[in-house]
Symmetry: C2
């Protein structure tokens, strides 16, 4: 090792779901939406005046912030935008979790939380979900340096009631409580309605799931003016211009087409509901989901075997070899046609498992 290397920050990077280059893969592994973004997004790109790219973009992304504020019934001073909700959440960790006391989050949740905590040297204590993958609110009534809860949770899909989260927020006036609502559009109730009541509540959402814009990188946070002000100060200490001019224009077009969003969500939910029934018939068990994915274990065949069989046959789902969830697959909801292929493959697969007598 060269001497300069001693002083390098060494981290274990997060490993995201695979992004295969082969377009024939049925990609149900990163919870993307199978439908294209709102038509206005294309119009914004295809009519974009490129000569303005010579100028720096608006550092406040004011027009996008205003569109989001209108959509959520908030003031623009209550909205912060970033390069995907990962950018927003990483900045929120850095801004709000500075007490030196451990922050709290569930033992099974979005796997970036502990990565950010390690990166910023923030101590943390994972709180075990119950046997149904539900949070136990009492776990969050102790002293802490901050709380983050994904709702609905990932990768479980389980939704906590807003009233339960409100009890946690109310019990922690000394901490910032972040509710990460990446999947809330698929059937959950948002905590955004509590923002004007609780100054310590930050709610994050993303354009990557329900808005079909994972490729554009937009996430946002909503909270009290004070919280948003602190976030902006930290953001402007890194990089004044994070959101580019094209993204701002395309993002606004998405926000302004509420009907398209609702239509897309309805299609995904319809597919999810029938796939739940089909997976159940095939012997899968899973907590009820309010997201665009299903977190399922099979009653007889180990998840890793199913995962590998699917993968070999060009169907990608997500699998983690981690405590408590190593027998589960996280299956994103694709188009009806994609899900038909999944179910059809699984029928054959379990058929051969059972009749061949080699498994189960």
């Amino acid at each position: 090792m060269m001497s300069w290397e001693k002083n390098v920050r060494k981290v274990v990077p997060y490993v995201a779901g695979e992004q295969p280059k082969n377009p024939n893969i049925i990609k149900l592994n990163t919870n993307e939406c199978p439908y294209p973004p709102a038509p206005g997004v294309g119009a914004a790109l295809h009519g974009f005046d490129c000569s303005i790219l010579k100028r720096y973009p608006d550092p406040d992304a004011a027009l996008l912030v205003e569109a989001l504020a209108r959509r959520h019934g908030l003031s623009p001073k209550q909205v912060f935008v970033g390069v995907g909700s990962d950018d927003v959440l990483a900045m929120a960790f850095m801004t709000f979790f500075q007490s030196g006391k451990p922050i709290l989050f569930p033992d099974i949740t979005y796997s970036f939380y502990d990565v950010w905590a390690d990166l910023y040297q923030i101590p943390y204590e994972c709180q075990p979900l119950d046997e149904y993958f539900c949070i136990r609110k009492e776990d969050y009534f102790k002293e802490n340096g901050g709380i983050i809860i994904a709702n609905p949770n990932a990768p479980t899909g389980v939704l906590a009631q807003v009233s339960v989260l409100e009890e946690i927020i109310k019990a922690n006036p000394d901490s910032v409580v972040i509710i990460d609502e990446a999947y809330v559009d698929f059937g959950g109730e948002s905590c955004a309605g509590l923002i004007n009541q609780y100054e310590n509540l930050l709610v994050t959402q993303t354009f990557s799931k329900s808005r079909s814009l994972a490729g554009l990188r937009i996430g946002y946070a909503m909270g009290s003016e004070k919280l948003i002000h602190y976030l902006n100060d930290v953001k402007f200490s890194f990089n004044s211009y994070t959101m580019n001019a094209v993204t701002i224009a395309a993002g606004i077009a998405s926000v302004e087409d509420e009907a398209y969003l609702q239509d897309t969500v309805a299609k995904v939910v319809r597919t999810r509901e029938r796939v739940k029934k089909e997976l159940s018939d095939l012997g899968f068990i899973f907590p009820d989901t309010m997201t665009n994915f299903i977190f399922a274990a099979h009653e007889t065949v180990p998840a890793q075997e199913i995962f590998e069989a699917l993968r070999t046959n060009g169907i990608y789902v997500r699998y983690w070899n981690k405590p408590r969830i190593s027998n589960y697959l996280r299956i994103s909801i694709g188009t009806d046609e994609e899900m038909d292929k999944l179910i059809s493959f699984l029928k054959d697969y379990f058929g051969s498992c059972y009749t061949g007598g080699q498994k189960g």
Copy 2:
């Protein structure tokens, strides 16, 4: 102050040059290029297939990295891309300046360096430029936790020779040395040619100046495979997907049109050279510049007065009320027409100053 606020990271954010919304302003305050980006950028946007935006972008931005590697004669493993060079540099500070020993940079330089150092709690010692705004290499021969030098420097425009920088790099095998080449295309020689010799050298460049793409947010770093690997590890600990799919496509189109880049740079340099003569005739003095801006003091009229007169008349330049540079204006090179208006205004202004007997 609410109790949660005690644990918030409080920073003094960087204040960027103003981005006025009025298009009639002659904007010579943020060193943007006055010409539009390469025509291929427009083609990339206007023909973009929006349906792919439903998928996450390539987290490695491999096609853009490969295009940059080809352009610079490097391997793709020697190139890292980020959301503007501010993103790249902030990540490099976080990754490489971890020794606890003070990092070194000039007293007059890009004003984000001390902001990042403060943000990451990195100690630093500013090294005074000499009376001609040149670095003194001996200042960088002492023990340190890392070095960053902008070359050409901002806001002075002064270029250091590669041979001088090489002495500094060679004298510091225990530190990472970053050469920030945001403006190098306008007449400087790059240190990129030294990368294969010095494992501790990181060279950063940007699409925001010579490529007329400030609005798109692309910066990049070039260095040894080891340095780039460490940077990627830290990047993937924050946010796997920072560069969106549209930006990757548009960025590649820019890199692939070398002739357009050279033509744009030649136009800016031609304008700069004649404006240098005109400013000199008007009584300005300035160090020679190898950038797209001129850092000029007037021999009789204080910079702040000129700054305010220009501003009142719709011409924005940059002014800092800071030690050693409070009598200087940083004037970006605009189009010939914009610079004609600047010169014409200044002629009238100094004429009235001198004949009116109120100033000078």
